[in-house]
């Protein structure tokens, strides 16, 4: 016979005002199996919990029902109390008589009846509950960070400084991301590389950071605490252990005029190149698509010049496996491609990007401004190298544009456009900046003052209105826009036009996300677990996100999120074993028919196709098997299992039917 204790909480006035708690206690005490029933003003308080513990001991209870607020609030509290009294915590249930009763009904009689019924159901369930033990999963106490931009760098340094080994995987030949290519950053106008490169060097030299550059994640297996990641190290054709970074190879390379990726096409680089002088690692890579030796078997000058013998034309991609306990995705962003586009996201044919040389995007302009850029920091127009005297900056190109397919605001453009006007004015004293905008979004610390400075002190002209069309006439760009505040159309003859293109997730992120079972939103940004309260976690345990990969944001926010993700990683790695809630799926392998419908249906890939063998090693049967590290207890397998074999611990079919039957 069961020995159940029922504890009814008043929750001050929240429950007691509507539900007659005395009558409830009187009625539920009569339920078969109930040994004691009491009520108290605040069950979650210290005296309330003490009451539960003392009753469990005194009455030798083997099951507890607490009738109170939502289990979301205090289920853990009450279960800890039960555990302290020696009762398995999973033999305690919460009946929600507040959110589902007293807060939504006003009739006292009806509410009281309902509260009694709710408790009746929970009592029926508890009688069928099994004692459960939390699941322990071993943890590999190492982390991986995918992406070597400022967010990835910050996350890696935080985790490594906390004492854990970090494997960083970066797609480009050097870490640094987009920030390494910026000129100066808002609102301080700090030189971007000056503040970033020390961090890059820290990463390169950190004893606990293993850096794979020019590499990508090929495959991921496993689960939280136990990931095995296969990394593809792309062939550099340069042995970076032998190479001294002297640069003679690049100087000697005869194929000098290739569009530079780092300069976004504004400059050129040789076939063997270091992306920029401060690269980490400071080693070159050969572009296998243009190198004469690799494409046609001719040349070989770089190998001849290399005193260290580091050139290796026979290099090949390598696959390496790394075991880690947690993964941080910090893959960053790219800019929206402005010209004609295929697919649901349309381009801006009306702006002539790609058609007119002097219509460029904001990252391209950054390279022109950068002191180490293709024009040594002088603002020169791409078409003829002349200094532009009238530069038009257009905001919201791609962003906030339902018709083109991107409805969101890219957050940083208002700030960097103001910055661009200031840097332009500082370099071209007799130049005039014109900005076409819809709104100014400058919500950070010292941000609004920064934008006002651009207008009030550096003379930028701001027109509130969008630009309809750009055409080219006699070497000038005719920009047709509007000034809605003055109520007039405005035409400007510009020498250069800079388009603030929308921030988009980096290429290939959706494929990477799929490898890790992380979701993406409709625009391709990585999905956080909860937009308010869990911005750096994902719905896959052990995988965290940070930076612009999650949504458009600036450097301070990316750095903050990176540290947040690092902190979450440290929680995961903090113990040698991870404890998981045991309320997960259970499959009776004796009865399983191995139809594998659950395997197909499981959204977390938590079900394996396993084989059962006898002592001789012969195959006895196949079965579906739940991976206790991955299962999130969603119940999908239960609903598809045709033999009613799969079940959820803590929410078994038997418990559920008992609840229903108790009402009939």
């Amino acid at each position: 016979m069961s020995r159940i204790g029922v504890f009814v909480c008043w929750c001050g006035e929240n429950i007691a005002r509507v539900v007659d708690v005395d009558r409830v206690v009187e009625e539920v005490a009569k339920l078969p199996g109930v040994r004691c029933a009491v009520n108290y003003k605040y069950m979650c308080s210290e005296p309330g919990q003490t009451m539960i513990r003392e009753r469990i001991a005194a009455e030798k209870l083997d099951g507890v029902v607490v009738a109170s607020c939502s289990p979301h609030m205090h289920l853990k509290t009450f279960r800890k109390a039960a555990q302290a009294a020696g009762l398995n915590p999973y033999l305690l249930e919460v009946a929600n008589i507040r959110e589902q009763c007293s807060w939504v009904h006003s009739d006292r009689n009806q509410a009281t009846e309902k509260a009694i019924e709710l408790i009746r159901i929970s009592v029926a369930k508890v009688k069928n509950n099994h004692a459960l033990e939390p699941i322990k999963v071993p943890v590999t106490r190492r982390a991986m960070v995918v992406g070597g931009g400022v967010a990835g760098i910050q996350a890696a340094l935080d985790i490594a400084d906390a004492g854990y080994e970090v494997v960083m995987v970066e797609r480009e030949p050097s870490i640094g991301g987009k920030m390494a290519g910026l000129s100066e950053t808002f609102p301080t106008l700090d030189c971007s590389q000056c503040i970033l490169t020390p961090r890059m060097v820290d990463v390169g030299q950190h004893p606990r950071i293993k850096l794979y550059t020019y590499s990508e994640v090929e495959a991921v297996e496993g689960f939280v605490g136990n990931f095995e990641v296969t990394v593809r190290q792309k062939a550099r054709y340069v042995d970076i252990t032998k190479c001294t970074g002297c640069g003679e190879c690049s100087k000697a390379c005869p194929l000098k005029k290739n569009k530079s990726e780092f300069d976004f096409g504004m400059g050129t680089r040789p076939a063997i190149y270091m992306p920029f002088p401060q690269a980490v690692p400071a080693r070159p890579v050969i572009d296998k698509n243009v190198c004469a030796m690799l494409t046609r078997g001719k040349c070989g000058v770089c190998a001849k010049k290399c005193a260290a013998g580091a050139i290796n034309y026979k290099d090949e991609d390598k696959l390496v496996k790394e075991k880690v306990g947690a993964v941080v995705l910090a893959t960053g962003y790219k800019l929206y491609s402005i010209g004609k586009q295929a697919g649901p996201i349309a381009g801006y044919g009306e702006y002539g990007y790609g058609k007119y040389k002097d219509v460029i995007d904001s990252l391209q302009f950054e390279r022109l401004l950068s002191a180490s850029g293709p024009t040594s920091g002088k603002v020169k127009r791409p078409s003829d190298g002349a200094t532009p005297k009238n530069v038009v900056f257009i905001s919201c190109v791609g962003s906030r544009d339902n018709a083109k397919g991107l409805t969101y605001c890219s957050k940083i453009c208002c700030m960097y456009t103001a910055k661009h006007t200031m840097l332009y004015k500082h370099k071209v004293h007799d130049g005039q900046a014109h900005v076409f905008y819809m709104d100014i979004r400058s919500a950070g610390k010292n941000y609004d003052e920064f934008v006002r400075r651009a207008i009030e002190q550096d003379g930028a002209k701001y027109y509130r209105g969008r630009v309809s069309k750009i055409t080219e006439q006699d070497g000038k760009l005719i920009v047709r826009g509007a000034d809605t505040l003055a109520g007039e159309p405005v035409t400007i003859e510009a020498d250069l036009v800079v388009l603030a293109a929308a921030m988009r997730p980096a290429d290939g992120v959706t494929e990477l996300a799929q490898k890790l079972n992380v979701g993406c939103d409709q625009f391709g940004f990585l999905m956080e677990s909860h937009p308010k309260l869990r911005p750096v976690e994902t719905n896959t345990a052990g995988v965290y996100i940070c930076g612009a990969a999650q949504a458009p944001k600036d450097i301070p926010e990316s750095v903050a999120q990176a540290s947040a993700a690092a902190s979450k990683v440290q929680i995961t790695l903090s113990a040698a074993e991870l404890t998981r809630e045991p309320e997960i799926a259970r499959i009776d392998e004796k009865l399983c028919a191995a139809c594998f419908r659950c395997y197909e249906a499981c959204p977390y890939h938590a079900i394996e196709k396993a084989e059962v063998r006898n002592r001789k090693g012969e195959l006895v049967k196949r079965t579906a098997r739940v991976n206790p590290g991955l299962c999130m207890g969603c119940g999908t397998c239960v609903s598809v299992c045709p033999s009613k074999n799969a079940d959820i611990e803590g929410f078994t079919e038997q418990e559920t039917y008992a609840m229903i039957e108790s009402l009939i």
Partner: protein, 280 residues
């Protein structure tokens, strides 16, 4: 190849040189045109300006005739007509109540005939076919391809080419051996139906088009709309007088150019009935 043919009022009126050119050119390409019997005006600007229901009903009547006469495809060489027919067709397809209302008003079920503008019709014939049929390539012809407003806008209704940087006419012109020039006023408005009610508007807007075409080295402008032709051709001398410029710009219908390349004479194509530029 057979195509249903909806001339529209202009092609039977003062722009019947367009019809002459079209028939000669398409005839030479082996396209036979079956004129829609008892077609009525599409309503043009007047209907959509003054009465929404009428602006859908008049095209609906023509679509009903097309259905009854077994025309699945209808060539409408005037871009206003082609757009109004496409607009009505789309509005009815998306709103069944409207479709039913129109069926009552025009006393027949409007069908879903596909509407083609001149360029779409030539594309149906096929660029390769046209290229092969060229007898006298139009080398030394520097042509500014002018789309005007209604061939490509609004994009969701016209569903034709790219509304910002269209290239379909250029492809045909190139196939004829001519040189299409790159210029800035491909899709800018000529002033449309304001020719009589607000002549100033047409003079100003069409002047910009002529000036830009000339500035980019064009000797002629190709059009696929009779209204654009009137504004650029018939009004050219008025524009020259107003703005003190001399253009002498020949305004060809696209089918004029195709016809010339196929070896037809300017007279056969009605080019001698144009007002400005080279008319022989």
């Amino acid at each position: 190849m057979n195509l249903g043919y909806y001339p529209g009022c202009s092609l039977h009126g003062s722009s019947d040189d367009y019809q002459q050119s079209l028939k000669a050119c398409l005839g030479a390409l082996g396209v036979s045109l079956k004129e829609l019997d008892d077609w009525i005006c599409c309503g043009a600007t007047a209907a959509h300006t003054l009465n929404r229901k009428l602006s859908i009903a008049l095209p609906a009547r023509n679509l009903a005739l097309a259905a009854r006469q077994g025309c699945d495809e209808l060539l409408a060489p005037c871009s206003m007509c082609s757009l109004q027919l496409k607009k009505a067709r789309k509005a009815m397809a998306e709103d069944l109540a409207l479709s039913a209302e129109m069926a009552t008003i025009v006393e027949a079920k409007p069908g879903g005939a596909r509407v083609l503008n001149l360029i779409e019709a030539l594309e149906r014939v096929g660029l390769e076919t046209i290229k092969t049929a060229v007898k006298t390539p139009l080398k030394d012809f520097k042509v500014a391809c002018y789309y005007g407003c209604l061939l490509t806008r609004p994009p969701k209704v016209a569903e034709f080419d790219d509304c910002e940087q269209p290239e379909s006419m250029e492809r045909i012109v190139s196939a004829l051996g001519a040189t299409p020039v790159a210029w800035n006023y491909k899709t800018e408005c000529c002033g449309a139906g304001m020719t009589m009610a607000s002549e100033e508007t047409v003079l100003e807007l069409s002047h910009k088009i002529l000036a830009d075409a000339a500035a980019h080295g064009a000797q002629s402008i190709a059009v696929a709309c009779p209204m654009c032709h009137v504004n650029l051709d018939m009004k050219q001398s008025a524009i020259e007088a107003r703005y003190g410029s001399r253009y002498g710009m020949t305004i060809y219908y696209l089918c004029d150019l195709v016809g010339l390349a196929l070896g037809l004479t300017p007279r056969a194509l009605g080019i001698n009935r144009h007002f400005a530029g080279r008319t022989a």
